[in-house]
């Protein structure tokens, strides 16, 4: 314990009308990190509210209506909730929320999707710089308090060639740019562990995102951009890590699939 799951739902209202609520009803996760919720509390559909009645919901919507948004669903009530990454530019962007649970801090992250050579990439790069500093500080604080920490979410970065089917064709594309891979490598060299990769070394994938367009899903031409990063002590307890890929194109309720990690007892 605990089991942590993370998924970019691509709009919680739309996902709730497809299969997200069925998935939630069946998950063994103790904590579920959601990204791209794209809803204010008042917009949450009745079905979602009913399905999450047994959960504690921490929602961090974006100030801009209908965009971004992250959330944490936890079986236990959080002791504390913090939002943002300490950069004024990204306040209210609905991209980061963290909750303190007993012995564990969990953050849900939705990192900006860039576009190489455009202002969107510059924004992503500024976010990366601010996030690195923030995560270093939060990790130190958690460890000082005797807590472990997990950062789970849509990083919009494939860390290495094994994490993207068509890596050669994407060398110049955002999400696989050299400095982005370098950023995540530096993060993982500074006390964070990419848990799925640690549990599944030396294999291609498992991918977590497939474009809705064309035959990307059927051909498993995906990207591994949704990650569960954990502090070393917790990462060493990972027993099971899986991407819950939908059985077929039309049973998907998001273009991402949930990433689920079960941690054993200390």
């Amino acid at each position: 314990m605990p089991t942590v799951s993370s998924v970019n739902v691509n709009g919680v209202r739309a996902a709730s009308t497809k299969g997200f609520l069925d998935w939630l009803a069946g998950t063994e996760a103790d904590v579920v990190c959601l990204q791209e919720t794209r809803a204010l509390p008042v917009d949450l559909p009745a079905g979602f509210l009913a399905a999450t009645a047994g959960w504690h919901l921490t929602l961090e919507p974006a100030a801009a209506k209908g965009r971004n948004g992250v959330a944490v669903l936890s079986r236990e009530a959080p002791d504390a909730v913090r939002t943002g990454i300490g950069a004024a530019e990204f306040a209210g962007s609905g991209r980061y929320v963290e909750v303190d649970l007993p012995g564990l801090t969990v953050a849900s992250l939705y990192l900006p999707k860039g576009s190489a050579g455009t202002p969107k990439q510059e924004e992503k790069d500024r976010f990366l710089a601010a996030l690195a500093a923030h995560l270093a500080e939060r990790r130190e604080k958690a460890l000082a308090d005797g807590r472990e920490m997990v950062v789970a979410g849509d990083f919009n970065i494939a860390p290495a060639e094994a994490d993207i089917r068509n890596w050669k064709g994407n060398l110049a594309h955002s999400g696989f740019l050299p400095h982005e891979r370098e950023w995540i490598a530096t993060l993982c060299a500074s006390g964070w562990t990419d848990v799925v990769r640690a549990v599944h070394p030396g294999v291609d994938g498992p991918y977590t995102w497939w474009s809705y367009r064309g035959r990307a899903f059927d051909n498993d031409a995906g990207w591994r951009i949704d990650h569960v990063l954990a502090t070393a002590g917790l990462a060493g307890r990972a027993e099971h890590a899986v991407v819950e890929r939908a059985p077929s194109y039309d049973t998907r309720w998001s273009d991402h699939a949930p990433v689920t990690v079960r941690f054993g007892p200390p």
Partner: protein
Amino acid sequence: MIGGRYVVLDGLGAGLLGPVWRAEDRLTGRYLAVQELHVPDMTPAEHARFREHLLREARRIGALADPGLLAVHDVLSDCGIDHVVTELAVGTRLSDHVASGGPLAAHDALDMARGLLRTLRAAHHRQLVHGAVRPGAVVLGDDGRIALADVGLALPAEEAGVPIRDQLGPHGVVAPERAAGGPATAAADMWGLGATLAFAGATEEPLSSLVAALRTEDPASRPTADEALAMLGRNGSTPGTSGRSWWKIWERLRP
């Protein structure tokens, strides 16, 4: 249920911008195709422009009323996702048809070429560009109809930052000027048509000559739909092919 009106029945696969669902219009009882349009990371202003562009294209398609274009019934947002509702074409995509049944017979390919050319001619005369002509966009209707799907989507999507040319698959359907970053044009549609005909197995005259002509690198020298139709004979009506219908061919291929 999408938009309080369209009851989703089952999935039809991947469209140009997202999943396509077969749905029943609760108002009219008609069966329709509802496509989700996923264009990531638009600002509200970009989104408004995208919607406006989609509607503009839908109206142009409506004004054309060409049997070779799937009619657009509705453009709506539901749960924050844009959807376009079109006529449901019961049949098979050329891409699937060739993958399961091999190349078309010469006369069938010729029929199809004429049908597509007449539609593209009508569209291009109205400055309506398809932008994604490929084997996967050609519907061979069970009732014999030949129609182009995904009309009116490519341009708004590209304007909103989705590189449609990257979505078109491996059949060489992207014109060289498009591959170099150029915009979707009528000439690029004609290149896509040439590749589509080649994919369908256009190896006999007069189609083989047309395919070669459509492969002209310089878009300005590529035949227009009018010129291409002229190459195939007057207005596409050739004795001996008029009684042929797609459903007969489709019947033959059924297990």
